[in-house]
Amino acid sequence: MIKTDILIIGAGPCGLFTVFEAGLLKLNCHLVDVLPAPGGQLTEIYPKKPIYDIPGYPSVLAGELVDNLMEQIAPFKPGFTLGEKAASLEKTGDKEFTLTTDKGTIIKAPVIAIAGGLGVFTPRKPPLEGLEKYEDNGVDYMVKDPEKYRGKNILIAGGGDSALDWTIELASVAKKISLVHRRTSFRGALDSVDKVMELAKAGKIDLLTESQATQLNGADHLESVTIKHKEKGNLDIPVDYFIPLFGLTPKLGPIAEWGLNIERSAVEVNTEDYSTNVPGIYAIGDINTYKGKLKLILCGFHEGTMMVQSAFKYIYPDQKLSFKYTTVTGVEGFTNE
């Protein structure tokens, strides 16, 4: 069990910077994120893109900004639970929330800061009829244990790194593996592309280019997938498993069930301190909404800064909070925790 002062859900830029502002007030933070690395969208979607509206940086790469934020907050020794989804949140006492992740990690804190951006990054699901019926019944969105596919007929769809990597990896495990992709070229790493081409040439995998999966077939479980080739028309591929790998897309997720006022997939907040309708829960960054809201990193930094002041008063109503400039006091990090 982990205990902290502010539990931040989402380790994007806004969540990360909040650790700094909380640290100045001697508040500890712990961050939870479903992604395996901190940075949120900046790491997952556009690490190599320059950002031009961070004050003091005429241009900074998104990935660089995340690295800098990590360096900036390091003195405050934030805790991280990465690769886990914040699943349920319960009020378990006076000024105590208990969050449980999808992997069973339990974190307790008096204050929750939801900095979830656009939501939980989840695998993009192809809009194929009857898809739900075959989930865990022949359709998988990620490979957890390659052994599951030993001796099976597998169809992987997609043209990026994960589709290529898993095709290579499972080629030695599966009975037969087919890779379906809409073009003849792939966007993945060059050596992975070469390896897939070699495997195809050697007859170890079936490469189905200029084709897309259009239909799932099978009575109780998945039996075959219909592939539509650009010119040759439809082809039925018998499979035990279909693994569509089309990247990740953000969905609001479990936050929607935490009793918060939600408007169009965003959490309504009071702009005085970015508090939600539930005392002790705040929402900052892209996940919140209010009159005049702008989804900018810049604004998220401001929101996190304002929020921790209010959080301090919420946790310690009797203590006086004096405002200090870092230029006067410097940054006094935490020695333990």
Partner: protein, 106 residues
């Protein structure tokens, strides 16, 4: 208004929407669709870094060729056809008056 064009959009339910879009605000098609509250996500904000603004161009207007980035991202879209585009990569300009667009399934 002279500095605007008309765009016809068929949503995923088959309803037709007639939109007016200004040509002097350096907008892209995704932004216009969102401004009219059509169900287009545009998650990445228009950087051709997600596939959530995938659409079909039904008219034969002359468009810029998709960049490699756009092609790469279309790999993450579904039911991609020859007339598939990411709407964020289509700049609104005078020559696109009368553009006929259909939202792709998600």
């Amino acid at each position: 208004m002279s500095d605007s064009i008309h765009i016809k959009v068929k949503d995923r339910e088959g309803t037709i929407h007639e939109l007016e879009a200004p040509t002097d605000m350096s907008l892209n098609l995704m932004e216009v669709l969102k401004a009219h509250e059509l169900p287009v996500e545009g998650t990445c904000g228009g950087m051709a870094l997600c596939a959530s603004c995938h659409c079909y161009i039904q008219s034969d207007h002359e468009l810029s060729t998709p960049s490699d980035d756009e092609e790469d991202m279309l790999d993450q879209a579904f039911f991609v056809e020859d007339n598939s585009r990411l709407s964020c990569q289509i700049k609104i300009k005078e020559s696109l008056d009368g553009l006929d667009v259909e939202l792709a399934p998600v």
